[in-house]
């Protein structure tokens, strides 16, 4: 999308500070394998906030980091994006009904049209948002977040931690050093957990997909309820004073501080492009598989077929959805298109949201990683509290019947 401006900006950046002995760096593509990431999925990946620059600690003068010179390029890229995006719907109809000769109203025609519209649309939305979130991430390094949270009281601290969980780059493989780093810097246990619950649950991929497929209302509901669960769960754990359920060696650790280093706008934009390459590169197979399954359900499963099992009339459907969601481990990209199709066929919104939250937020691999620092009782308590929160959200939305207005 905007890779060219990124790489064009690089040589100037590098030479401004460090004499570059090997010639100008080329594009951002050199070492980044799009398919790889340190995360095993689900959680927020760590394209991250790269901190340091050579010599930045030696009080070298900050490079000129004006956003101004990148704005024209960004504006052109954005305009191109919007023009392309508006063509998607006519394109999908042309492809399925004219080019392939399928007729609207048939199962196959509807399924193909669903896929031809949703796949490029969601990919485009994803690229746009991941790019900007990648830039935002560079402003919120874990170090800065920790400094903001250290010594916070509960309640206010929980709210802040959950909010920062959205914008701070997070990767489940870094959960342990992050957890210890927070605790030893004086961030209260409950506040730390608010962060660790919010970070994977309210992630940008989930929000984009919800926005793209269901509209802003559902995305906003997800954001607000996801944050509330993280805030309340962390707060409850703080109130229960479960510090004894953390492995005791954790408190003996001493984490060092690293200095805060500024990035130029060129580097921030480059990080945005890097995130797109990494995240989109990693999730697109899940996404296409999810949309394909969604398209199948859309075309072939009869209307209201699911109303009896996943509709709001069945009280047991919410707990069942949560129970199913915990062992299921995929990321937002794979699960949301399926949820869309389920909703289409009569599933209640609360049940569908609960299912999705359980899949994304209660991830087995992350708890296995956290087992290093948390006693099993503690993990069970966290899972129990978060699962309860998800259940309540499911019941709440089913009771309000919000799904009727949205879908």
């Amino acid at each position: 999308m905007t890779t060219t401006p990124m790489s064009a900006a690089l040589p100037a950046e590098a030479s401004a500070e460090t004499p570059d002995t090997v010639g100008a760096p080329t594009s951002a593509a050199v070492t980044v394998d799009p398919a790889s990431t340190c995360c095993s999925g689900g959680a927020r990946p760590g394209p991250s906030a790269a901190l340091p620059e050579a010599g930045a600690g030696d009080s070298a003068p900050r490079r000129s980091s004006g956003l101004g010179r990148y704005l024209p390029m960004l504006a052109v890229a954005l305009a191109g994006w919007f023009l392309l995006y508006r063509q998607l719907s006519p394109f999908a109809e042309w492809l399925s009904f004219d080019l392939l000769g399928l007729s609207a109203g048939t199962a196959l025609g509807e399924a193909v049209a669903f896929f031809a519209y949703d796949a490029p649309k969601v990919l485009m939305l994803l690229m746009l948002v991941v790019f900007f979130v990648g830039i935002i991430n560079t402003f919120f390094t874990p170090e800065r977040t920790r400094a903001l949270l250290a010594g916070r009281r509960e309640a206010g601290g929980n709210v802040m931690a959950a909010g920062l969980g959205i914008v701070t780059p997070f990767c489940s493989c870094s959960a342990v050093p992050l957890f210890i780093g927070f605790l030893t810097a004086g961030v209260p246990l409950g506040v730390t957990l608010s962060f660790l619950i919010a970070a994977p649950m309210v992630n940008e991929v989930a929000l984009v997909l919800l926005f793209g497929l269901f509209g802003w209302q559902v995305a906003a509901l997800y954001l607000v309820t996801g944050l509330s669960i993280a805030i309340l769960a962390g707060w409850v754990i703080g109130r229960l004073h479960l510090e004894g359920w953390v492995e005791s060696w954790v408190y003996d650790m001493r984490a060092a501080e690293t200095g805060e280093q500024g990035l130029s706008w060129g580097e921030r934009l480059e990080e945005g492009a890097r995130s797109v390459k990494e995240i989109v590169g990693r999730v697109w197979p899940f996404l296409l598989a999810g949309i394909a399954i969604g398209a199948f359900i859309h075309g072939y499963v009869p209307e209201d077929y699911l109303a009896s099992i996943m509709g709001d009339g069945a009280w047991w459907s919410v707990p069942l959805a949560v129970l199913l969601g915990v062992p299921l481990y995929t990321n937002a990209a794979g699960i949301i298109p399926i949820v869309e199709a389920l909703l289409d066929k009569g599933a209640a919104l609360g049940t569908a949201l609960a299912f999705m939250m359980a899949v994304i937020a209660l991830s087995l691999p992350e708890f296995v990683i956290l087992r290093k620092v948390l006693r099993p009782r503690m993990i069970a308590t966290v899972v129990g509290i978060v699962a309860t929160g998800i259940l309540l959200v499911g019941y709440l939305f089913n009771a309000l019947g919000i799904g009727r207005f949205v879908t």
Binding site: T21, V22, S36, C38, G46, P47, T141, S174, I180, G181
Partner: protein, 82 residues
Amino acid sequence: MEIKVLGTGCKKCNQLYETAVRAVSQSGVEATVQKVEDIDSILAHGVMMTPGLVIGDEVKSTGRVPEVSQIVSWITTEAGRP
């Protein structure tokens, strides 16, 4: 010169290790690249996002795999220090 790659064994950590080894051979500077996997030492450097890259005694990057050329320039800068 000592170069350390901090990380608990994730995919990116291995990638960073390979990139760092390549950077050392490109730079022509004599340096050892070492993987550091225990949490004690990772935290001792103040790194919360793995992988972390330490050159000399300074954390140069966290949570990402910098480009080879970038690492080469860090290495030559470090080598040029008295």
